[in-house]
């Protein structure tokens, strides 16, 4: 019963992540790659994403400090982060990355700074929510994936 409740909580949390636009269909593609041979693949990929993305955001921050108004450089760094967001289905982060790149295209430094703050905020929120999700899954045990709410 306890396991069932935890599974339901995990499923509800995941549904909300899709409903609120934090995740998109690509996250389901990642989950589809998980199997008995790689039972923790999704969590491993997400963990890797947050490691990679933290590094990329540090690179962007340093570029913005050390190379003021070097929009090509800022854009190049953000392009990499955006690509990773696409890869795991981090939809809101992806949108804020796109906004940053648009501001680079417009050579709008203040706009870039605002967008970057939003990227960082979305990154933090998504990390927190996914950490909660995987914690629930771990507590629920291995039998979760019979149905995948939120995935088309």
């Amino acid at each position: 019963m306890e396991c069932y409740n935890l599974q339901r909580q995990a499923a509800c949390l995941k549904r909300s992540l899709f409903d609120q636009g934090y995740l998109d269909e690509q996250f389901c593609q990642i989950e589809d790659l998980q199997d008995e041979a790689s039972p923790n693949f999704t969590e491993e990929v997400v963990s890797l994403f947050f490691k990679d993305s933290a590094r990329l955001m540090t690179n962007i921050e340093q570029a913005m400090e050390k190379n003021p108004r070097d929009f090509n450089r800022w854009d190049a760094h953000m392009q990499q982060l955006k690509g990773s967001c696409y890869s795991i289905g981090a939809s809101r982060m992806k949108n804020e990355c796109a906004s940053f790149r648009n501001n680079c295209g417009d050579e709008n430094a203040e706009g870039c700074m605002r967008s970057f703050q939003k990227v960082k905020r979305e990154h933090g929120v998504l990390r927190q929510k996914l950490e909660s999700y995987f914690q629930l899954l771990r507590q629920a045990g291995p039998a979760e994936t019979a149905t995948r709410p939120g995935c088309a």
């Binding site: 790659l33 491993e44 955006k82 990773s84 890869s87």
Partner: protein
């Protein structure tokens, strides 16, 4: 979704500097029964070819340190790597022109779908089986 040539698995090289993107593509390829190798930038990929390594298909990310994907494609083609299928992969649609101009066989936007990858590999297998 079998991807197997007569007698040997498809040999795929993934050229990607972003770990998460690399891990996802590797997992897809492994699910499709490919034997995989990784290069972390274009230069490492070129070095593998210089060492005499052969692959049936190579996936290149676009922007990488030391040597970009399109640069590596150009270099490998000029070294005589004309038979190997080369696929450019990027979240940036502007990458298509760079890759095709460099001599890639095709461009696929990120994120790649498993079905797309499977049909690409089926094509490689068919071509390889016909030449055996």
């Amino acid at each position: 979704m079998a991807s197997k040539m007569q007698g040997s698995a498809t040999k795929a090289l993934v050229v990607e500097d972003i770990k998460v993107d690399c891990v996802i593509l590797l997992r897809m390829l492994q699910k499709l029964n490919c034997k995989t190798t990784v290069a972390h930038n274009g230069k490492e990929a070129v070095d593998l070819f210089l060492e005499g390594k052969t692959f049936d298909i190579v996936f290149f990310d676009k922007d990488m340190p030391l040597m970009t994907g399109p640069e590596a494609v150009t270099k490998i083609r000029s070294m005589g790597g004309t038979e190997v299928k080369m696929v450019g992969v990027s979240a940036d649609f502007g990458g298509m022109e760079a890759f095709m101009h460099a001599g890639a066989d095709m461009f696929v936007p990120k994120p790649m779908k498993l079905e797309t990858l499977d049909s690409m590999l089926q094509e490689v297998i068919s071509k390889k089986n016909m030449s055996v």
